[in-house]
């Protein structure tokens, strides 16, 4: 932590933020944090193992922990895991990259222009209910079975959450910040890159988090229906052969992947930007 002159009372430096930072600073450190993060999962696995053991439910219906571990090891050894994982990751990365490239500028434009947002708001609200999964049938008709349709679904699922949150983020930038940038001669282009985008970042990150969540679910659903590879497809295939252990193993992989993406991509982004900038106490 950098030495921190005590912020004076006032609306720009609420005590809550300083207190929160102090708490984090004196926290348990990386090892402790990791422990606290994994603890709930350890408990979940323990409850699972004990429940299966005590209730005597058939393992074919509800596999024991070691069955799932074995299924996972098999999938890894046969190369099936790598194949499905690779297909899913490729689609998620493509879909989200396109969603960021389109949703972010669109959201900023909506936030900056009342006319644009007035026009698009009803359409946005209409689309939110349909975003992602509901598009799978028509996506497969348009783009066929395979990567194209799945990437489209991931993009579609993310786009609206990202655009909507980005718009809110821009609107939450204090008017005085925009005014001060304009009074120092910032052009529209400079405004976009140096004020609107960083100013909206706290909301953009929540938009990314929500959007990636939708996108991930869209991915699994789309792969079940419109693909012959990927983790969703692995789930679907295992259901046909009543391989509950493979189903649960695939579900675990999907969940763990999501956690890894969150921790490796979003959390560092947050640490380096909004936390470093002291913007965590809500938009200023």
């Amino acid at each position: 932590m950098t030495p921190d002159p005590v912020p004076a009372a006032g609306r720009t430096a609420p005590g809550g933020r300083a207190a929160r930072r102090a708490r984090r600073g004196s926290g348990p450190g990386f090892v402790g944090a990791t422990l606290w993060f994994t603890l709930p999962f350890v408990v979940l696995v323990a409850v699972w193992a004990v429940t299966v053991e005590l209730t005597g439910v058939p393992r074919r219906i509800f596999p024991q922990v070691d069955d799932v571990a074995a299924a996972l090891a098999d999938m890894a050894a046969s190369g099936e895991l790598a194949r499905h994982l690779g297909a899913s990751l490729y689609r998620v990365l493509m879909g989200s990259a396109i969603a960021v490239a389109t949703g972010l500028p669109f959201g900023i434009a909506l936030g900056a222009s009342p006319a644009l947002s007035a026009f698009f708001s009803p359409l946005l609200r209409f689309s939110v209910a349909l975003a992602g999964i509901a598009w799978i049938p028509i996506a497969t008709l348009w783009l066929g079975y395979g990567d194209g349709a799945v990437i489209f679904i991931v993009w579609n699922a993310m786009f609206f959450a990202l655009a909507y949150n980005t718009m809110l983020g821009v609107r939450r930038i204090p008017a005085t910040l925009l005014r001060s940038a304009r009074s120092m001669g910032a052009s529209r282009w400079r405004m976009f890159w140096e004020v609107l985008l960083p100013g909206a970042l706290p909301s953009v990150v929540s938009g990314l988090r929500i959007g990636l969540g939708y996108g991930w679910r869209g991915l699994v659903a789309a792969e079940i229906i419109a693909s012959s590879a990927g983790l969703g497809y692995a789930l679907f295939l295992a259901q046909k052969t009543f391989s509950t252990d493979v189903i649960i193993a695939s579900m675990v992989v999907i969940g763990v992947l999501w956690l890894i993406m969150d921790r490796l991509l979003l959390a560092p982004l947050e640490r380096r930007t909004i936390e470093r900038w002291g913007m965590t106490g809500g938009a200023r």
């Binding site: 950098t2 921190d4 002159p5 005590v6 912020p7 004076a8 009372a9 006032g10 609306r11 720009t12 430096a13 933020r17 204090p174 005085t176 910040l177 005014r179 001060s180 940038a181 304009r182 009074s183 120092m184 001669g185 910032a186 052009s187 400079r190 140096e194 004020v195 960083p198 100013g199 970042l201 930007t273 470093r276 900038w277 002291g278 913007m279 200023r284």
Partner: protein
């Protein structure tokens, strides 16, 4: 040479909820000479901040003219730097990044703008804090940065909108003395809005006292305190006390305006 001309400024807006017409500024005229420190003081709701926002180009006047260095104002521009009460710093830029923002927008080359940025940070007492972020500074230091950011841009006039209002009394005194020192060293043209009578008298060459709504210029009080000024010396000078008392009378008496003029300033008694 006149830096800022405000002539028959008038602002009427329609309240978004009630639909009523509200006169924010009745009829305000005054000028600020180059290198002069002028404060605008008035009862709450008299539209003094609206006057500043009009000069800044944030608000379009209903009538009247605002001219800066001889050319009429129509939009915000780098010839008028604004120091906001809420500081309005960019949280995502370092102290130096904030200080050189205006120079970057002007396209000043990197080496030159960093040299100037550092010079002005030094001037306001923020030397050594270049790489910090605004949230790591106290409120007083944030406002020092707000001032450095504007001065580094070398505007024709620096507009200050109650810049010290949200800062604790102790720090405020130091900031006022530092602002006076900077003003005496560099002689920028300053247009300063405040509701604090002591502050206005201590800092200014002239104080424009506005009446309550619809606001007009009640009186322009010239302050002939010797410079350099410090609080220690100022509070003992009869000139200081006279001017504070005079403005206090103007504001509390409403002196000939449509009554109801209310003083929202800190009591002037806290000088003693």
């Amino acid at each position: 040479m006149t830096a800022l001309v405000i002539e028959n400024l008038n602002k009427v807006y329609t309240d978004a909820y009630s639909g009523e017409e509200v006169t924010a500024i009745g009829d305000v005229s005054f000028t600020v000479e180059r290198g002069e420190f002028v404060s605008v003081l008035g009862p709450s709701g008299c539209g003094k901040t609206t006057v500043l926002n009009t000069v800044a180009g944030f608000v379009e006047p209903t009538g009247g003219v605002v001219e800066v260095d001889g050319s009429p104002v129509s939009a915000p521009g780098p010839d008028r730097g604004v120091v906001f009460q809420s500081h309005a710093l960019f949280p995502w830029k370092t102290v130096l990044g904030n200080a050189v923002f205006g120079l970057r927008m002007k396209g000043v080359p990197r080496a030159e703008r960093e040299r100037r940025g550092r010079e002005y940070l030094e001037l306001v007492g923020l030397g050594g804090f270049e790489r910090k972020y605004p949230h790591e500074l106290s409120g007083g230091m944030q406002q020092r940065l707000g001032v450095a950011r504007v001065l580094a841009n070398e505007p024709a006039v620096m507009l200050m909108d109650e810049p010290f209002a949200s800062i604790d009394a102790q720090t405020r005194r130091r900031l006022q003395e530092d602002l006076t020192r900077i003003f005496e060293e560099r002689r920028p043209t300053v247009f300063f809005v405040t509701h604090d009578i002591d502050e206005a008298v201590f800092l200014s060459d002239r104080v424009v006292v506005l009446s309550g709504r619809p606001s007009t210029v009640q009186e322009i009080v010239t302050v002939d305190l010797p410079r350099p000024r410090t609080w220690r010396e100022a509070v003992d000078l009869p000139e200081f006390r006279d001017k504070v008392a005079r403005i206090n009378d103007l504001l509390s008496g409403g002196a000939g305006t449509g009554g109801g003029a209310r003083v929202d300033s800190d009591s002037p008694v806290d000088v003693v």
